[in-house]
């Protein structure tokens, strides 16, 4: 198992390297630079700053310099948040984003699996159709539309929930952003669960369980749920990536000072090291979580369990 995990991590190195190269090139290809202000600086000051941050070197030299730092775990200094390294900024902002993402993921799993299972058990009835119609809607509408609509109805009109982040305290302020982040995932997981649950319920071993006198609840709990979870489990990798992407938008909309917001600011300000640092951090996170998903797969399905 350990050997397998290590091999997988080694195998991820080329992927990460490709991500770094692409991100590096794209960041530098964007017009403008980190120190462009509205008011033009005198040429020699600009040259000094560029020299201090090695921006006057050829691109490949900058890249080699960056890689050298990266290997030693140094993501470099932020260009815009002076006196802070990128690592410090990530360490400050990530816990909040993690909290938000984990809650959204958990909510999506619980509600998605429950709704999907219910739809499968009530296949082709009204409740199935309504659930699946809602799911289709959830998939079709992007987060940046859902979030403002939620705010408009639940916060502004009905005043049930706080609308923004700052100025509010307690767990309630998490609700809207988490829901906005989770909704598309709930919808997708519900559809996946429904389809796989229908397959599993039609399988021979479920027929055996029925022949043994097990009721619907016992069949779902002891026989169908585990195998029906396999497609959902393999979707968790993409789901995590989708939630990371979604959090960038949601944090911006609700004004949450998480990593997503830093990322957007960094990109707008051409804060090369900050953007690169967050991209590399997220890419590593996705690789690690996918590894966790694959290991979980073996825990559920004994046929592919590794010795």
């Amino acid at each position: 198992m350990l050997r397998y995990a290590l091999l997988r991590l080694l195998g991820a190195i080329p992927t990460l390297l490709l991500v770094i190269v692409l991100a590096f090139l794209m960041v530098h290809a964007a017009p403008g630079g980190p120190f462009d202000a509205e008011r033009a600086l005198p040429a020699e000051i600009e040259a000094n700053i560029a020299a201090a941050y090695h921006l006057d070197e050829p691109l490949y030299q900058q890249f080699v310099r960056y890689l050298k730092g990266l290997v030693q775990g140094d993501l470099g200094p932020s260009y815009r948040y002076r006196d802070h390294t990128v690592s410090e900024l990530i360490a400050t902002a990530f816990p909040l984003s993690l909290k938000l993402g984990a809650m959204a993921m958990l909510l999506a799993l619980i509600v998605g699996v429950a709704a999907g299972s219910l739809a499968a058990l009530r296949r082709n009835t009204l409740s199935d159709r309504v659930l699946m119609m809602l799911a289709m809607t959830g998939i079709s509408i992007p987060v940046f539309v859902i979030a403002p609509v939620l705010v408009l109805f639940l916060a502004v009109r009905l005043q049930w929930l706080p609308a923004g982040w700052s100025g509010n305290e307690g767990a309630a302020r998490f609700l809207l952003p988490v829901i906005a982040l989770a909704l598309p995932q709930i919808a997708y997981i519900a559809r996946l669960t429904r389809a796989s649950m229908i397959d599993v319920l039609a399988s021979d071993f479920v027929r055996t369980a029925r022949a043994q006198g097990l009721g619907t609840a016992a069949i779902v709990r002891y026989h169908a749920l585990k195998p029906a979870m396999l497609p959902v489990l393999s979707y968790l990798g993409p789901a995590i990536a989708a939630i990371l992407t979604g959090s960038v938008v949601v944090e911006e909309i609700f004004g949450i000072p998480g990593l997503g917001q830093f990322f957007v600011r960094g990109a707008l300000n051409r804060d090369y090291t900050l953007v690169l640092g967050i991209v590399i951090f997220y890419a590593t996170l996705v690789v690690l979580l996918n590894l966790v998903v694959d290991i979980l797969y073996g825990a559920i399905d004994p046929r592919i369990r590794r010795r």
């Binding site: 022949a211 006198g213 026989h223 559920i300 004994p302």
Partner: protein, 583 residues
């Protein structure tokens, strides 16, 4: 009052009746065979008794257990009957057991669900039941997953799950169809021994099994009960002509009309064939371990063996479909390249194949005419469309299909018709050698007879050499001039048809012949001579691969691999072949 009473049972899907007005009873403790070909409604009947039919089935009539009506009963009422009064053993235990759950948990769940035991008691009872059904080391097997067990052991676990709640009626639906013949004999003996006073409704297409294991029998055809009676009576004096037809087509080892046609020169010679599958780096599986085989024109050689015997690998290697690790293939005097893609077109057309699954081996989007014409398009592109069409129609007529079939799609054909199309496709290039890989295994008895007759016919016409791979000894008897018996990749015995069945020399061949159920209640076969199952080919036993199961094994058998030796025209790989002949 009978234990089970069916009265006017009718099962309908849409406008089609799959079971019509079916009435019969099963008394406490008796064993009844429910027999019919595929589509006769026997499995539908079993599912109806347990209330397991799909929602789109309409059911009418009456099904009573101990006088309690089950048709129209609530799911809750049915659940209290299932397992406790009526339990079922399904056909394929790999599918019918949950692959995600330990077998002990699956069986124990039944006791807990029916409140017959607490979790701790359930575990103890499951282990006792596992011991009764012959699962070795039951306390450890409790935690095994289905895929970790052999086919026979899985079916033993399935039987344990059916008997754990001590039902009064056990329904077994083709319980041994997915198993090898020596394991089938063990499982049937186990069912007979273990059920004690539990009544048995045994559903099967195999009249040999009914002859050996059922006191009474019911015969279904097209959803109707056409005959019933004591097994001996029905076999001795069948009343319905369909029953007589079924009995005539029943697989037998004692038929006398075995092929004797003239045989010509050697067309295909395989020597020293070794096939090794070496994926995953570490473990390599030796599927064929040095086998020689020659086939002459006009001759049928049957290759018979249980799963893992290497019979398919040997032939696929000869055809160049899998790489041969060592050995030579000579076709009509020329040595062939190892892989089929390196062979000349003229050679390739000389070796043709017919597969097991007739529907699956035809492209569902092509019409029959194009399917049969395709080899011609590839190998004789110069032929104009009109001539090609004529040859296709002539070929279809030869295999017994008229011009009506030219424009049909594969799904519009029955299993037998589809297999005729596959044979036409193989023969249109006038090959020298036809390989049939379990080509009649998916067909019902009467259709199987027709296809075997067709193969004999085309062989006589074109002096065709046929290699027939099968696990079924009755097919071997019916079709072959010579027989190659294989076990774990090695030649066990190679002999003429008549000689092999009259005077088998190898203990494995003898046990195989004894294990085949005989469709005759007076001389029941199906004896389980061999204990255990075929070992994994990943770790074959030392010496003679068969020695751990061999009743005659001596010290030398585990030390030295017996080389194939010629004895009176047969080739046998056994240290004691002379002593055991006719044993």
């Amino acid at each position: 009052m009978s234990l089970l009473e069916l009265d006017g049972l009718t099962i309908r899907y849409g406008d089609t009746d799959v079971v019509r007005d079916l009435s019969f009873g099963v008394d406490n403790g008796e064993s009844v065979g429910l027999v019919g070909e595929s589509g006769s409604g026997k499995t539908q009947t079993a599912l109806a008794i347990l209330g397991l039919l799909p929602a789109n089935a309409t059911v009418a009539g009456s099904i009573r257990i101990d006088g309690t009506e089950l048709l129209g009963a609530s799911e809750k009422a049915l659940n209290s009957v299932r397992a406790r009064h009526v339990a079922m053993v399904f056909q394929d235990p790999m599918q019918a057991l949950n692959p995600f759950t330990q077998i002990g948990q699956q069986v124990g769940r039944i006791l807990i669900q029916h409140k017959l035991a607490s979790a701790a008691e359930a575990r103890a009872r499951v282990i006792r039941m596992f011991e009764r059904v012959g699962l070795p080391d039951p306390a450890r097997q409790f935690h095994a997953y289905p895929h970790q067990l052999s086919g026979g052991m899985r079916q033993r676990a399935m039987i344990a799950s059916a008997l754990i709640a001590e039902p009064k009626l056990l329904i077994a639906d083709e319980p041994t169809t997915a198993l090898d013949v020596t394991v089938q004999a063990q499982i049937l003996e186990l069912l007979a021994d273990i059920r004690r006073d539990t009544a048995l409704l045994l559903i099967t297409h195999d009249l040999g099994i009914v002859a050996g294991h059922c006191e009474r029998m019911l015969i279904l055809a097209d959803g109707r009960l056409i005959e019933r009676g004591a097994t001996r009576e029905v076999f001795a004096r069948p009343q319905h002509e369909h029953t007589a037809r079924l009995l005539a087509a029943a697989p037998r080892l004692d038929r006398t009309d075995i092929p004797t046609g003239p045989r010509g020169d050697t067309v295909l010679a395989i020597s020293g064939a070794e096939v090794i599958y070496a994926d995953r780096g570490q473990e390599s599986l030796q599927a064929v371990r040095g086998v020689d085989l020659t086939v002459r024109s006009g001759e049928t050689v049957a290759i018979v063996g249980e799963s893992g015997s290497g019979k398919s690998s040997l032939v696929r290697a000869a055809l160049g479909l899998v790489p041969m690790h060592a050995g030579r293939v000579v076709f009509c005097g020329t040595a062939l390249a190892g892989r089929v893609q390196h062979r000349k077109k003229a050679v390739r057309r000389g070796l043709q194949l017919v597969f097991q699954d007739p529907a699956g081996s035809l492209n569902p989007q092509m019409r029959v005419a194009s399917i049969v014409a395709e080899p011609l398009v590839v190998h004789e592109p110069a032929v104009d469309a009109e001539t090609r069409q004529e040859r296709v129609i002539a070929m279809l007529e030869k295999v017994g299909l008229g011009t009506d079939y030219v424009h049909r799609y594969p799904h519009e054909l029955s299993g037998g018709q589809a297999q005729r199309v596959a044979i036409a496709r193989a023969l249109i290039l006038r090959p020298k050698v036809l390989v049939c890989d379990e080509a009649v295994a998916a067909l019902d008895g009467t259709v199987r007879e027709q296809i075997l007759a067709l193969l004999r016919e085309v062989q006589a016409e074109a002096a065709l050499a046929i290699i027939f791979i099968t696990h079924d000894l009755s097919v071997v008897r019916a079709i072959s001039h010579r027989v190659l018996v294989m076990y774990l990749g090695s030649l066990v015995e190679l002999a003429d048809n008549a000689e092999l069945f009259a005077n088998a020399r190898h203990p494995y061949t003898q046990a195989l012949l004894q294990a085949v159920p005989v469709p005759d209640p007076e001389h029941a076969g199906g004896k389980a001579i061999l204990a255990g199952e075929v070992p994994s080919a990943l770790r074959p036993p030392d010496g003679c691969a068969f020695h751990p199961r061999c009743p005659f094994a001596r010290d030398i058998c585990s030390a030295e691999r017996p080389p194939p030796r010629k004895i009176d025209g047969a080739t046998v790989a056994c240290h004691f072949a002379e002593d055991l002949s006719g044993a």
